[in-house]
């Protein structure tokens, strides 16, 4: 539906912003609860943290990072157009530009997160 409706880039940018925002909100609520366990139930916390290091956990971390990075870059694009309305004319170019940064920053980070499970060379740590 998102792709068939004729809202094009502007609407997709908005929909992705909203979906990633709600997803990050849900993660933040869970994350504060798990950090609370560091004091409240340290054994449970150590068990939960092993999930982060597992393969499904790392895939979820990558998705979280992707949501965060998209939301951050598109948020910057929104702020830019709010402060400088003339840039609204280039909202599509800005959106594609944000995907270039997303790919350039996201791929190395995704590689490094996945490297330990597959025994790949880690370049940054």
């Amino acid at each position: 539906m998102l792709f068939r409706y004729r809202g094009r880039e502007g609407m997709l940018a908005w929909a992705f912003h909203r979906i990633s925002g709600v997803a990050i909100w849900a993660f933040v609520v869970l994350h504060v609860v798990d950090i609370y366990l560091v004091g409240g139930d340290p054994k449970a916390y150590d068990t939960i943290l092993q999930v982060y290091a597992s393969l499904p956990g790392r895939i979820a971390e990558m998705l979280l990072g992707a949501a965060l990075l998209y939301h951050a870059l598109n948020g910057l694009r929104i702020i830019l157009m709010d402060l400088w309305p003339a840039m609204t004319r280039y909202h599509r170019a800005l959106w594609y530009g944000s995907w270039v940064v997303f790919t350039g920053v996201g791929l190395p980070v995704a590689y490094e997160i996945m490297a330990p499970v597959f025994g790949w060379t880690q370049f940054f740590r």
Partner: protein, 131 residues
């Protein structure tokens, strides 16, 4: 031109409170661009989650007041930004004044609980290395 969405919420003009929230969303958004991305990079990229456990937090992270203060600042910014953002989504999709009020107040109740949990652990967690 005006056929296309600008993708952000237009600046509210009817209510002073909504206008203040609109500005605060942008200010906290800019701060989170730096702080939330840095937080993610430090804890998923610089340090591998496989090396992290309770001892990592008590001895290496929250042994310094700086990181506790920064994490609490991040918590305050993200609580505001995330809950006011979800509130905007609720206002868009939940109609009927009673139901909307009920959902928004449940949202604030969750925010208050998260504030208490997060603040208490960051302020009280004992750290053997801290002096």
């Amino acid at each position: 031109m005006s056929l296309y969405s600008r993708s952000g919420r237009p600046r509210p003009s009817g209510s002073r409170r909504e206008l203040v929230l609109w500005y605060l969303m942008r200010i906290t958004g800019l701060a989170l661009f730096v702080l939330a991305l840095a937080h993610y990079l430090i804890l998923h990229f610089v340090f591998d989650p496989a090396e992290q456990n309770v001892a990592f937090i008590t001895d290496a992270r929250w042994s310094q007041l700086f990181w506790r203060a920064l994490d609490w600042t991040l918590l305050m910014l993200v609580l505001f930004h995330a809950f006011i953002g979800v509130r905007t989504v609720v206002v868009d999709y939940v109609h009927g004044p009673r139901r909307r009020r009920a959902v928004i107040w449940s949202l604030y109740a969750i925010a208050a609980a998260v504030f208490v949990l997060g603040t208490s652990v960051v302020m009280t967690l004992p750290s053997p290395a801290m002096n």
